[in-house]
Amino acid sequence: MSAEGTIQGFTLPSTRPFTENERAWIGFLRQVSGNSDPGPTLQLVQALRQAVLEAERSRE
C-alpha cells in the first residue's frame, strides 16, 4: 500500500480514486512513453517536477 486509496496498484472507488487531473497526467505519461511504464528515475522526476511547476505557473 503506497498511496491513499491504492492497494497493490488498484485504486478503490469506495475510498479515494485519483482525480480527473491526475488521470490526465497518467494518461499523458503513458502516451509520451509509448506505454513503456517508465520508473521514476532522478532525471524523469526532475522533468515531472518542472512540468508540475509549469502547471502551477499557468494557474497563477
Partner: protein, 133 residues
C-alpha cells in the same frame, strides 16, 4: 500472407520491446517457457499480433518479462477489446495503475503540495521534451 490482426495493439508492441531488451540475458524461447506456454511458438504469435494474450497467462508472462503484471493486464484487457469486462474491472477495482504510476502520482502530489494541478500545455511540453514523443 499470415493474418496479424493484433499487431498494432499496445500489448504486441510492448512484448516486442521487452523481448528485445531481455535478449542479452534471456531468449524468447526461455521467456515462453517461463510464462508456461506449452508451445513456445505461441509467444511469437502474440508478439507478431497473430493471436491475443490469454488473461490467464498475464501473471506468468509478466514475471518472465520482468515487468509489472498490472501494466500487462491493462494491455491484455485493451487487446481483448471486451468492453464489458474492462468496464466491470474499472467499476470494481478502479482504474488499473502500475507501481511506477503510483510513484508518479506521489511525485505529482508532493511537488504540487497536493493542489491537484491540471495538465497544461506548458507542462506537456516540459514532459514531452524528456520522454520523447
Amino acid at each position: 500472407m499470415a493474418k496479424r490482426p493484433h499487431s498494432e495493439t499496445g500489448l504486441a508492441k510492448f512484448l516486442t520491446r521487452r523481448v528485445l531488451e531481455l535478449r542479452p540475458t534471456k531468449s524468447q524461447i526461455r521467456i515462453a517457457t517461463e510464462a508456461g506456454f506449452v508451445n513456445p511458438n505461441m509467444l511469437a504469435m502474440i508478439k507478431n499480433g497473430a493471436t491475443k494474450l490469454p488473461l490467464d497467462r498475464v501473471s506468468w508472462l509478466a514475471k518472465a518479462l520482468e515487468s509489472d503484471p498490472k501494466l500487462l493486464f491493462k494491455l491484455a484487457l485493451e487487446q481483448a477489446g471486451d468492453e464489458t469486462t474492462a468496464r466491470a474491472v474499472a467499476e470494481i477495482f478502479g482504474t488499473v495503475v502500475t507501481r511506477n504510476e503510483v510513484a508518479w502520482l506521489e511525485e505529482i502530489r508532493d511537488a504540487s503540495g497536493h493542489s491537484d494541478p491540471s495538465l497544461t500545455a506548458r507542462s506537456r511540453i516540459a514532459l514531452r521534451g524528456l520522454l520523447g514523443k
